[in-house]
Amino acid sequence: MIFFYLLSGLFLGWSLGANSTGNVFGAAVATRMVRFKTAALIVSIFIFLGAVLEGSGPVGTLGRLGSVDALGGAFTVSLAAALSIFVIVRMGIPVSTSQTVVGAIIGWNFFAGKVMDFHSLITVFGSWIFAFVLAALIAFVLFFIFRAMLNRSKIHLLEQDMLTRYALVVVGAFAAFSLGANNIANVVGVFVPVTPFKPLNIAGLFILEPVTQLYIIGAISVVVGVYTYGHKLVYTVGKDIFQLSPVTALAVLLAQAIVLFLFASRGLHNFLVSLGLPTFPLVSISFTHLTIGAVMGIALAKGGKNVNYRILARISVSWIAAPVMAFLLSFILLFVMQNVFEQKVHEGLKYVFNRHTLAEITRKGYDINALSTVNGRTFDREQTIFNELNTQGHYQRDELIDIIRITEIYPMEVNTKLLTAKGLHKGFTRSQWESLLELEGKKYRHKWQLKAALVSHEAWLLHESPQNEQQKNHNRGIQSKLELLYRSFYTPQKKEIRRLATLH
């Protein structure tokens, strides 16, 4: 069954691939500097390498789909996103994969009655505009820098052509690598804790971990997308919006790579943090928005004439349409999956207000007097608790989300063998792993209980109120490892849930 579920992830990978060639090499192919075949080959190789070598590593792989807690739900969410992207790509319009996936996840959140985290949503929408404007600005500046350089260097047209060609290939490869590294989690991230593969011994030379195998399959689906459908979008980016020249095509690609590197590279972020320098905020950036933004930056630098506003309008509309379509499709498909095919699309978690959870809520510093109306009760939808407590007006939205998370029943059993079998153990430090081994076989009913057991060890220490980027970064790393543990150790036991629900 897992293999069937995996199909929708691969479909999403395919649509990512179909989108990618145009975004990375659209301008280069349209100006005939790089042939489509060459572009497809470079994109395929480097997306593959980026996904397999860098692909967020075994830890923190859950990516955006992480919050979707049932495999059936993940399948449906991926399917809804992939279908939406497919429809838009068929019209020859590039669309943001990440944001379409977010649209589909919001659909799942609504269906599962989860309380929406508006902060992340605003960040995502903000990055939408931010990426576009920033890429346009950088491309605009690069245009004038390139022009001044070319005028000063007096380089021969043929040599300029050759250098531009090499630069396009190198920067394109770098961009494809980053794309693979950043996006593979969208494609197969959700399947990491449930990967069906066994470690594969390659001719006695090295062992291919199950997670790596999963990434390889995901990357292959992206490559298939590049080859089968990539040509559809190549000319939209490089020719239809605005006629680019080879050098301006390079400016577009370089602008994309710079923004991607500055704002999405954890490596650079960590490097700046280690030097004690101010850092760029790490935000989720859409490659498609970077591309179109950079093309617009060049068009503006050239006086804003000859821009095909009709196509630009179509692209803008589709950027809103794709996530909305994914949201609706996700909601409808989840309904069909659950009620027609009788598949579990969300875990159906329970939320209980008993002495344990109330004690934890108190420990976190919240006033529990306002919880008297819910004390002793069990809920099966986050939204119900939220609505009930929200009307009382005692808590802020963020505080309510925090309280709900504490009450969530999420039975887990520490099983390090499970992590080893899937190759996930490599993401932990030696001392982290040792502290995990100490907890072997122990059972927990709430996520915060496992967290409390772990953070007492120095290796898992979280900074209470992080003062600087280094501490924030450390916390983010620990948090993503904890998320992986929750998901991996989850042991749904209906009887247990029922027993716990009545116990208070």
Binding site: K154, L157, D161
Partner: protein
């Protein structure tokens, strides 16, 4: 070694991009050198003819013939490489047009000198000075055309300066040519001789007209080439 032989020796498509780029760049530079040479040879040939050094004049004509053949070969090789190796895809059509039109200037120079060799017109001594001035104006137009084309490849900002010079010398050649024709028809001579001299004078003027035509296109291609 002739360019065709060079192509065969280098094994065409197996050439690395850097090698190909340098090779084609050198072909274009050599081609432009030959265009410039042909203009200088034309001026020297004209001087020889007016001073009655006919055997030396015939040698100049042979040299121009050779230059024209070489220029053709270089142009064809460069064009072939541009298309076979997809070099400068955005500009190769323009470069092709520039090279072909510049080559026509060389053809015209050869035709003009050959015309003198065949018809051997008798040019009265009174006309020698003006005849030479017209020739020099046309040759200057061609030489500035060569500089304009070189700048198109290396220094786009300078192209318009040279184009301006070409237009200047073309006008100069036109004015001098007109003066020359007026003098020819004011002479007390046979109409047939006057018509022959007019035809030869027009040939000299036409060289600068060809240079101007190339510049008309070059001006547009320069706008296209700007970033």
């Amino acid at each position: 070694m002739r360019p065709q032989q060079i192509i065969a020796k280098n094994g065409d498509k197996n050439m690395a991009l850097l090698k190909t780029t340098r090779f084609v760049g050198a072909q274009i530079d050599n081609f432009l050198d030959l265009v410039s040479d042909s203009a200088t040879l034309f001026q020297l040939g004209m001087e020889d003819y007016l001073l009655g050094r006919i055997s030396q004049f015939e040698e100049r004509l042979d040299q121009i013939r050779e230059v024209e053949n070489k220029a053709d070969d270089l142009r064809i090789t460069a064009e072939r490489y541009l298309y076979e190796h997809t070099l400068i895809p955005e500009n190769r059509g323009d470069v092709l047009a520039i090279l072909e039109n510049t080559d026509e200037v060389v053809d015209n120079i050869k035709d003009s000198l050959m015309n003198f060799s065949i018809e051997m017109p008798v040019i009265p001594e009174d006309l020698h000075d003006l005849w030479m001035q017209t020739t020099k104006a046309s040759v200057a137009a061609v030489e500035h055309l060569v500089m304009a084309v070189r700048s198109f490849f290396r220094d786009i900002a300078a192209v318009n300066n040279y184009i301006h010079k070409v237009y200047f010398f073309e006008r100069e050649a036109d004015q001098l040519g007109e003066k020359l024709r007026r003098l020819i028809f004011a002479m007390d001579d046979d109409l047939s001789h006057k018509i022959q001299l007019r035809y030869c004078a027009l040939h000299i003027e036409r060289i600068s007209d060809y240079a101007q035509n190339v510049c008309d296109r070059l001006a547009i291609y320069t706008i296209k080439r700007q970033l």
